[in-house]
Amino acid sequence: MHGASVSLVSHLMEVLHERCAVEPRAVRDAVDATEHYRVLNFLGDYFPAAELFAAFERLRSTRVAILGCGAVGSWTAVQLAHSGLENFIVIDGDQVEESNLNRSIFLHEDIGQPKVKAISSALHRISQRVRVRRVNENVCDADGLRALLSEARPDVIVNCADEPSVDLTSEWINEYCQDRRVPYVIAGGYNLHLSLIGMTVSPGVSACINCSRITLDELEDESLQGVRRLWRPKRNLGSLSPLTGITSSLAASEVLRLAVKSDRLRPAMWNRRGEFNFLTNELSFVDLPPRPECGCTAEDVRDRVSNNSQ
């Protein structure tokens, strides 16, 4: 630094620190000493050293509810536990069957067990510090889900439940979340196949599921407009583990972004949803902006929260 003054060098260091390019030796040593040094180093690309451990602590202590513990739900849960999250609420009334093993994290020894118990075992294999609240029931209506979530009080909800349908369960979650300002991630299940990447909703900040419906109705494929669909009950649709892996990896990444609660690392799936194409290995997205006519703006949410608390 030929001719640079101390104050200039100091300013340069401040800028580099703020932009996450340098870190104090003590922080590096502290990161190095933890088991989660890879996750911390990753977050270090977004958070300056002075904020790094606080961001990880927010992540670690986030209470995440996973509704539906099938293929995507089970994969999402274990990725979050590997990432350092320690508080889980898992909700599913089904048992593990042989047919689940081609795409879920369940093991052969789990067959016949409730899925929530098998997931709990998987999470405890990763860390004994993990706390899992198991809800071994299928949620059948909005009231039932509301009661359950009101008691469990999650910080983030991931919807992986496609029974009775993803649309319906997302609507129930949206109702609860808009009232309580709880963010949620919709993972998989759209249109009955597994390579779709759902949107992330932060009430009052981003478009909600109802906003997305308004836009999607407008975008409906013209070639299918005015057509009727052949009714086909009890279908056994195709699935493939790596597509589950891709959908769940993005759902888990979205939960991490929500869990650190910072503008430095915001959700990437606000106001859009995506699709991964098996044949071309490409990701594509559809923009789903907030719709004023939906009634989910920040002001609407504030009013609802205030009415709710009165």
């Binding site: 088991e35 890879r38 795409r103 057509v227 649709l237 892996g245 098996f278 990701l283």
Partner: protein, 385 residues
């Protein structure tokens, strides 16, 4: 009248495959939409043939349905030039109709139970029962040497076992460490201190229906004899070993694979980040690792990064389990496409998933005709023959 070879077809009980949606527009155009791949087929047909689609639930044979069709046609007193059987045969050829029991003819009940949804997916890709069956059988019979069972290798192994691979040579010299809880897909805190190769072998045996494994607790070094390490019975090698360096281990394995005519998948490890889309090397079709090295040497000529003040940065690289899962999933999809009849051309190039906006950055690399390893592939092939 159905006769001769058609007798056999006439006796089939066919149904509309679960993975295909059917839409009917007011102008009598039927839209078949393949849910897993989003392929579409549009057909203009008669109203009576549209009505017939609802009969295809596997409860009656083609011959019985043909009789019902003819009775209906004569009741409507309509002149129907269309043949019901031709229509059905066409849909069967396109993989839109399947035999009700097609999986049970090829696989045992436990295999059907486990893989029925996957076989339905394969039908979308391969478009025939025979090809979908053959794909799963190729998966079950393929012997894979997996070099490195870490942040990406362990997730790849987990997915491969899920989709039916069961023959493995598992190579890793290390033991399971506490920090592996943040990245290893088969981590179990009760197994800390055990060799990763043995942990992986135990996992395969707990999941696969007919497992065959060899666990090898040795490193792949520059002077390792590859065949002595993994044996001569491998069908595919996957390299995720980033020590001493993924580039070095890949060049070594790539040279071995070109000589032997074996496919190689290189996954993970690039610049120590974990969302590489992996690259597949098929001797004679794709560039080999030497071609990649020469390509980058040329492309990056004159681009000289300064040396980093921290000499050993291995603990300084960041990663997320979700990125490992993405990288592993992209790698396993490449293997499925490689084994598939309709998976398209083998991709040539490199790509990575970018976390910021979930975009994919990829570029093509061509085979280098001057490559000392694979440039004269025909000569190598003749020698191997």
């Amino acid at each position: 009248m159905i006769c001769g070879d058609d007798d056999q077809f006439g006796s089939l009980r066919l149904w509309l495959r679960d993975g295909v949606d059917v839409y009917i527009s007011p102008d009598d155009v039927v839209h078949f939409v393949f849910l897993s791949t989003r392929k579409r087929l549009r057909l203009k047909v008669t109203p009576l043939l549209i009505e017939c689609l609802e009969w295809l639930d596997g409860s009656a044979s083609v011959m019985e349905l043909d009789a019902r069709y003819k009775a209906q046609a004569s009741r409507l007193d309509s002149k129907h030039p269309s043949s019901f059987v031709d229509f059905i045969q066409y849909l069967y050829g396109k993989g839109i109709l399947v035999r009700k029991d097609w999986m049970h003819n090829a696989f045992c009940p436990e295999q059907v139970e486990r893989y029925s949804r996957q076989l339905n997916f394969f039908l979308d890709i391969e478009e025939s029962e025979a090809a979908a069956t053959a794909l799963l059988k190729r998966i079950m019979n393929c012997r894979i040497a997996l070099i490195g069972i870490g942040a990406v290798g362990s997730w790849i192994l987990r997915e491969l076992v899920q989709i039916g691979f069961q023959r493995f040579i598992l190579v890793d010299p290390k033991t399971l460490k506490p920090a592996d809880r943040t990245r290893n897909a088969i981590f179990d805190h009760l197994l800390i201190g055990e060799p990763k190769a043995l942990v992986a072998e135990r996992f395969v045996h707990s999941q696969a229906l007919e497992p065959e494994t060899r666990a090898i607790q040795s490193p792949l070094d520059i002077d390792t004899n590859v065949e002595e390490l993994i044996g001569a019975d491998t069908d595919l090698i996957i390299n995720t070993a980033d020590e001493p360096y993924i580039g070095a281990t890949s060049i070594k394995l790539s040279r071995y694979c070109v000589e032997k005519g074996l496919p190689l998948l290189v996954a993970g490890g690039f610049d120590a980040h974990l969302a590489s889309l992996s690259e597949i090397i098929v001797p004679g079709q794709t560039p080999c690792s030497d071609c990649y090295a020469m390509h980058f040497e040329e492309t990056l000529r004159g681009w000289k990064p300064i040396s980093h003040p921290i000499v050993d940065r291995r603990r300084g690289f960041g990663g997320l389990p979700s990125l490992s899962a993405f990288a592993a999933s992209a790698a396993v999809l490449k293997i499925v496409r490689l084994l598939s009849e309709n998976g398209g051309d083998v991709e040539q190039g490199r790509g990575e998933f970018l976390f910021d906006q979930y975009s994919i950055d990829s570029f093509k690399v061509e085979r280098n005709p001057e490559c000392p390893t694979c440039g004269d592939f025909e000569r190598l092939q003749a020698r191997a023959d």
